[in-house]
Symmetry: C2
Subunit: 339 residues, 2 copies
Amino acid sequence: MPRIDDIATPALVVEGPGFRHNLDTMRGARPGPALRPHVKAFKSTGVAQVLAAAGHTAFCCATIREVEGMAAAGLGQDLLLANEVLDARRLGAVAAAGARITVAVDSVETIAAAAQGGVREVLIDVNVGLPRCGCDPDDAGRLADAARSAGLSVRGVMGYEGHLMDWADRDAQAAAVATSMTELRRAHELVGGGLSSAGGTGTYDLHHWVDEIQAGSYLFMDTHYARVGLPFVEVLSVHTTVISVDRRRRWAVTDAGLKALGMDHGNPAVHPDDGEVFFCSDEHTTLVPGEHGGTWRVGDRIRLRPAHVDPTIAMHERMLVVDEHDEVIDEWAVDLRGW
Amino acid sequence: MPRIDDIATPALVVEGPGFRHNLDTMRGARPGPALRPHVKAFKSTGVAQVLAAAGHTAFCCATIREVEGMAAAGLGQDLLLANEVLDARRLGAVAAAGARITVAVDSVETIAAAAQGGVREVLIDVNVGLPRCGCDPDDAGRLADAARSAGLSVRGVMGYEGHLMDWADRDAQAAAVATSMTELRRAHELVGGGLSSAGGTGTYDLHHWVDEIQAGSYLFMDTHYARVGLPFVEVLSVHTTVISVDRRRRWAVTDAGLKALGMDHGNPAVHPDDGEVFFCSDEHTTLVPGEHGGTWRVGDRIRLRPAHVDPTIAMHERMLVVDEHDEVIDEWAVDLRGW
């Protein structure tokens, strides 16, 4: 097996043992259908196959492309597009081919699109505090009625408390999640149906009512989520090579930059601690000495931990999985990119 | 021809007339070989073909993948990898297949890699002030000697004054460029060779000595570059659809987010001015009313201007070109992504 240091850079690398720890930790807390893994975090049917083998066979998607790819890979047992669409024809085609497809709706327009597109099942998406999609809880029953009138089966409700994911104070966070879920529960009583879906990596252990949690980042983590104190470990990094060193002015330049790293949460971090990121360019990251490190040589390998895992993975074609000896033991294609 | 509003969103769209204006404006200032268009900005052989037809037949690349793809598309007349690499074997293979390949070097290690990889021509990359790659000007002659001793042909020098691209004060910018180019010129005297290469979109008209400018962003522009006051117009946007509206709290949500928009320079802008971007999520952008606009309906099309063009394009599989009537007149595959 090749060692990871023999692979060309930039390379997106997953530390296998930590990944397994994350998977097992979540599975212990939310086994089988209590977790609906969110495909948007990894965009890979290879990762989804691992999750399905671990008992999580219902998945959550953010794009139609993700739904199509999951179904084509034989993972269409229960696919929820946890997002609104105004043209559901491609979803309808996937459903007609035999997959179970449910789509989130929060308006009469998205209900009409689901019905016209040939989707048969919906969840009423309820706003529980995040300024994004989801109907007012008071409108949820009316929308469920409209959906049923349009011939759709209403499976229940979903509500994503995305504004509560990264709170440092877990007691306050738990109280805020409870408040959000009071809203979702009220909507569920108006809507009916058997399913309630909510949550994410940051709140996975703070839900005591919903049937399933929508989480994906827990598998990989990032420097942003790592600050919260969850029992999941960071296992994803972009492996880079030092291509230039300025000894006089003491900086080094690696061969991966902002086209290989999701930047919306800020700069990546050097791992293990061996200097600090000064700035990222398209295909470079300039490092300067920190408290530790800073004696780089051309050819050194540097691992950069992303600040946000989801967009980072979406920039790569594949993830390489390494064991505890840094030998490459698996490869997962990032095959669900685009729209 | 389909109208752009009939195309599924998110879609990356180029306004054709403005693109042609940008191309012609630059061509007027830096015709033919006086411009070496930078492929990293667009990662598309389709765009490169347009530039080649306009007389710019030498190109600049940032990754080996870009070099390989350009050569495979018959655009290998003069390809410069303006970046350091420690494994040049793939470049050597492209050269052996008949393309003219030049690679930047700034150390004995990158010189050795070029020679061992089968690349025959190099430019000495000189640091002219940006804390990134490039040798000290005083070392340039020694490196050129080392390259020639290794059997390489030294074409000359390059130096990228990337720290000077977005200055608002053009007189001060011109003076700073002149200082940077004094360094490059001093290095060139030590190095020899016929070619000097520098610059970018922000300084394209401030160079009076170098043979060629490396620029790519000028074709599309972005909200960051637009602030500088160059004669190029913004022509790139991500077309989105409003999928959810919260009338009570007055926000709207579109179906493209930070996986469709380079975020390293900040949030995108709504174009034309019809509200403000509140925040971007993976696949959503939440808008709030600004001075203008804010009366969105579900199904409305919203155009988002990116803050940084290069990483935005790299997130998409294709660009659609529209005419002044918003009819789709061309499609360019973004076929040079990855590494």
